[in-house]
């Protein structure tokens, strides 16, 4: 420890940030050595972003910052803005979460990078431009000279984030601060960007501070990790040590709450309750209220961040950390894990269960219009172009795909209960093309949806009793039935019936999603469509909602169509999985078969891109990095639409290329009778 002090590049000690008297960061100590990667993990509101912004002095004027941030021995807190500006970008550079808003939309990418260069270095325009092109090349942007003249909106999300990284490393900074750099991106793009970050770090030798909520990303990138909770660091250690032997119950809970790509089924370990309000923290440990190990002394004094002398920098702010270190329990031994009864799908053979939803050849195109008064069609977007789905009673179908793959369009086509543009939708044996208005209205009670963002999907002006009663009312249910059903539903999703007359904003995120689920269940549907139901939630809360979904499925024999971009969640919850690329189903089958022996190269790439919350396993994986971004869906290609990015196609001898170029692959079974299909000509390659 003492020897490390000399090489500490950045030392943050006792940093506190208040917003109008409400603390956001309450005494954070961090140290960053030259060239190392420090991961900061925490849930929303834990103060991780505020900490990173405070280091650069980028917080708004309403924030009161105290404590000390020393960069190479120089104090940054309280430094005038002018002097900080010389440091920002030069010594410490930032990569923001949302690359779209991090670039000025009216200037060209090149000009913005040139500007960053010329602020800190004495370069003429031509030299700066040349350097900018080199930087774009370094981060893997194709034809960098042309890219310099592009505007930010012409770049895709992944390209923008690369350009952002190029701009950050333009002046060879000592420290890169990356605040959730991949949160807004798809997994395959995330893998590319993380790779670029590694390259950038290698080229510049900079230290990296990576702020993320994703334990998988942290496990793959960080050398050391700091876990934040309620504005403080509660545990810090080397990455292997932290994941193998967590000494704070919160870290342990977080690790248990994440669904894993490499294991399936079983309940997750939820951390009960929600994060505390920083405005009114109780005395003692802020985690005590959620902690299964809490004792009386936890509620009186807040524990210091301490480590044992032999612990090699492993510090934890818990009075029982020594005990945890010694016993090294699994998360499920510490936290209460709910029992989940076996679902219908586990007990009956698939063929014996009747189909709930069957979709074949579903197509949906949107016209591209031009002109303001007289709109004329100038093209078409093939949003959905051949989707096949098959769900039987009591099973969960996971629908996976990146943004733009047509997942949401597929859902909305299903929910409209109208005749599709092409193809066939069959819900509970009824063809939606043949429904009249009355029967379509009746059928609505059999298919219900839970949206991604529970705040947006609940009317803010309605008490939740009315919200939950709405589908019942729409189906013309009697008043007595509604009055009886609402408390029953609330209890079913784990909320208190006494809270029925509260408004949505009085609940936390996880509770709101439970309200959404209760509303969907009100009319006893057979099929529940879940559109990214947990992606807006924190990990510890997400686990509770996933467990609830599993339990409801077992109790009510529901079928789920579970849409998600998160493959770990899909693996955890689904019985079958269907992978979409560019509006088509490219692979489908039983979840274990698809995840263990993926046959389509796209599925393989997707799976290898998902970070595992396990540093040792993460380091030993071989990644298949896909080149580029998904192509535009405005044109219909002949042959396989994936071939431009396909590693299998690239590796094939030229003689076998022709088939991929001319013939569109159809879904074929791996073996006759096996529930595993893929749309690839060379699935074994």
């Amino acid at each position: 420890m003492t020897t490390a002090v000399e090489t500490d590049l950045l030392t943050v000690s006792d940093l506190t940030v208040d917003f109008a008297g409400v603390p956001a960061v309450r005494g954070v100590d961090l140290r960053l050595r030259r060239g190392e990667t420090l991961g900061i993990v925490g849930e929303s509101g834990s103060g991780k972003s505020v900490t990173s912004l405070a280091i650069l002095g980028l917080l708004p004027g309403t924030a009161a910052v105290s404590g000390s941030v020393k960069l190479d021995g120089r104090e940054l807190v309280g430094l005038p803005n002018k002097e900080l500006s010389a440091i920002r970008g030069r010594k410490v550079a930032m990569v923001f979460q949302d690359p779209l808003s991090a670039f000025t939309p009216v200037y060209r990418i090149g000009d913005q990078i040139v500007e960053a260069l010329r602020i800190h270095q004495d370069l003429d325009r031509a030299a700066a431009r040349k350097r900018a092109a080199e930087l774009l090349d370094l981060v893997g942007i194709p034809s960098p000279d042309r890219a310099l003249d592009s505007f930010p909106h012409e770049f895709s999300g992944g390209m923008r984030q690369r350009a952002m990284i190029a701009m950050a490393i333009a002046n060879d900074p000592d420290i890169l601060l990356a605040d959730e750099p991949t949160t807004a991106l798809d997994v395959t793009i995330q893998a590319q960007v993380l790779d670029v970050l590694r390259t950038a770090q290698r080229e510049t030798g900079a230290a990296l501070v990576l702020v993320s909520h994703d334990l998988g990303v942290i496990a793959g990138m960080a050398d050391r990790v700091a876990v934040m909770y309620a504005g403080r660091v509660v545990e810090t250690a080397g990455v292997d040590e932290l994941f193998a032997r967590p000494q704070h119950p919160y870290t342990l809970g977080l690790i248990g709450a994440v669904p894993r790509l490499d294991t399936s089924g079983g309940p997750l370990v939820p951390i009960p309750g929600g994060p505390p309000s920083l405005a009114a923290l109780p005395p003692g440990c802020p985690f005590a209220a959620r902690c299964p190990l809490a004792e009386d002394r936890c509620r009186t004094v807040e524990p210091e961040l301490l480590g044992r002398p032999d612990a090699d920098g492993h510090l934890a702010a818990c009075v029982r950390s020594a005990e945890l270190a010694e016993r090294a329990p699994a998360p499920s031994e510490v936290y209460p894990v709910p029992e989940v009864a076996p679902a219908v799908a586990d007990t009956a053979v698939r063929e014996d269960r009747e189909p709930v939803l069957r979709v074949s050849g579903l197509t949906k195109t949107f016209p591209v219009l031009k002109g303001s008064v007289f709109k004329r069609k100038v093209g078409e977007v093939y949003a959905v172009d051949g989707v096949e789905l098959d769900i039987r009673r009591g099973e969960t179908l996971g629908l996976v795909g990146e943004s733009g793959s047509g997942k949401s369009t597929t859902l909305f086509e299903l929910l409209h209960l109208a005749k599709p543009e092409a193809g066939r939708i069959e819900l509970l044996g009824q063809d939606t093309a043949q429904l009249d208005r009355a029967s379509a209205h009746r059928l609505r009670s059999d298919i219900q949806i839970v949206f991604q963002d529970p705040m947006a999907s609940l009317d803010p002006r309605m008490p939740i009793s009315d919200i939950i009663a709405e589908p019942l009312l729409a189906q013309g249910a009697a008043r007595e039935l509604i009055a009886r059903r609402v408390p029953e539903l609330l209890r079913q999703v784990g909320l208190e019936p006494a809270h029925a007359s509260r408004y949505p904003h009085q609940f936390s995120g996880g509770q709101r999603q439970r309200i959404s689920i209760a509303r969907a269940l009100a009319v006893s549907p057979q099929l529940l469509v879940l559109d990214e139901p947990v992606s807006a939630l924190d990990v510890s809360v997400q686990a509770g909602v996933l467990n609830l979904l599993q339990q409801l499925k077992a109790e009510l024999g529901l079928a789920y169509l579970f849409v998600s971009h998160d493959l770990s969640v899909i693996r955890h919850l689904s019985d079958r999985v269907s992978v979409m690329y560019l509006g088509r189903t490219v692979e489908a089958g039983a979840v274990d078969a698809v995840f263990e022996q993926p046959r389509h190269p796209y599925t393989r790439a997707l799976l290898s891109a998902v970070p595992l919350p396990d540093p040792a396993a993460e380091r030993n994986r071989t990644r298949i990095l896909l080149a580029g971004d998904p192509p535009s869906p405005t044109e219909r290609r002949t042959g396989c639409p994936f071939r431009a990015r396909c590693p299998v196609y690239a590796a094939l001898p030229a003689t076998r290329h022709a088939r991929c170029e001319t013939e569109t692959p159809v879904l074929t079974e791996a073996a006759p009778g096996q529930d595993h299909t893929a749309a690839c000509h060379y699935p074994e390659a």
Binding site: P270, I271, P272, G273, G274, S277, L278, A279, A280, P336, V337, P338, E339, H441, R444, Q448, F451, D453, M455, S457, D459, P460, R461, M462, P463, S465, D466, A469, E470, P471, L473, A474, Q475, R484, V486, P487, R491, G494, L495, E496, P497, A498, A500, S501, Y503, H505, Q506, F507, S508, G509, G510, R512, R514, R519, V523, A543, G544, N547, L548, Q551
Partner: protein, 317 residues
């Protein structure tokens, strides 16, 4: 069951199965709990009492002149004084108040209802409905409303004040409707409206249950302003001899007549003006209360339920 309840504190006992309060009851309860609403309602009630009970309190009639008292200041005999013709200002004011209360309230109510329905329908349905309704709105906006009222009102002479109210309301809703339309268009894209559609809720019901409550803050503010504006536009028309005609009076005609004499004979102006201000103020108080009651996030109207332990920290900002 109990183990899954990760987020709620305690599984509630079955005793609490009384029907939960719906929105109507909650809004009503909140409104009645707000002091402003009560004060406003009491003032409006008193104004109505004064308007309709007032004529019985004084021996004077609003037309008959008292030739012995011309332009007299307030006294025991003429409480609000007399005007240039010797008419009793109190009798005139209460008579005028009758007209203005009814005209102000009804015009604001009608125009807001029409505006919200037309605006919400245009915004929600889109397409041809939108085009047709927007065309109507634009047409009404370019019509010189004053001229039309001038032409139509003689024909409506027999129909009385209700026709006059309808006429005033008919030219008072268009701008509100346009604002409601654009607000509806953005609300329509929100997920909770989509969710309701997928639940099979009928369009008109979505408008009433989801769209209108979410534009209510604007509508209420607009309506309270419309009350005052209606009283004043009635004045303008009355001044030209339409609407309320002499010898009948309204607050508007009294104000119009009293304005230029206000510095010298203040009783001719200030009594009527004070009653109008009081009226608009009371309406504003009620409107504020209603707006707070409909908006669950408004601070003032949150029910004192803080004792109920658990956090809402992440949601309340």
């Amino acid at each position: 069951m109990t183990t899954v309840i990760a987020e709620s504190s305690i599984p509630a006992p079955a005793v609490e199965d009384a029907a939960p309060a719906g929105r109507l009851r909650l809004v009503l309860g909140k409104m009645l709990a707000a002091r402003g609403v009560l004060v406003g309602a009491v003032i409006v009630l008193l104004l109505f009492l004064l308007a309709f009970g007032g004529p019985f309190l004084t021996p004077w009639n609003y037309v008959t002149p008292d030739y012995l008292a011309i332009r007299q200041p307030p006294s025991g005999q003429h409480w609000f004084g007399t005007n240039g013709l010797g008419q009793d200002v109190f009798a005139q004011t209460v008579r005028g108040l009758q007209k203005s209360l009814i005209i102000g309230l009804l015009v604001a109510l009608f125009s807001t209802v029409v505006a919200s329905l037309v605006g919400a329908c245009a915004g929600y349905f889109g397409g041809w409905t939108d085009r047709a309704l927007t065309f109507l709105v634009d047409l009404m906006l370019v019509f010189p409303s004053f001229l039309i009222i001038t032409i139509i009102s003689p024909k409506l002479r027999g129909a009385g004040w209700i026709a006059f109210v309808a006429l005033l309301a008919a030219f008072n809703w268009m701008i509100t409707a346009r604002v409601v339309r654009s607000m509806t268009r953005s609300l329509k894209e929100r997920e909770f409206v989509r969710a309701a559609e997928f639940m099979g809720v009928r369009p008109l019901r979505i408008i009433v249950r989801h769209i209108l409550p979410n534009v209510a803050s604007f509508l209420i503010t607009d309506a309270t302003i419309a009350v005052g504006a209606a009283v004043m536009s009635e004045t303008a028309l009355s001044f030209f001899g339409f609407g309320v005609r002499a010898p009948d009076v309204s607050l508007g005609t009294l104000l119009a007549a009293g304005t230029d004499q206000a510095p010298v004979f203040p009783w001719l102006f200030y009594f009527a003006a004070a009653l109008l201000v009081l009226f608009v103020l009371a309406i504003n108080l009620i409107g504020d209360g209603l707006r707070d009651a409909l908006d669950p996030t408004s601070e003032g109207a949150r029910p004192p339920r803080k004792s109920r332990t658990r956090r809402t920290s992440r949601s309340s900002k």
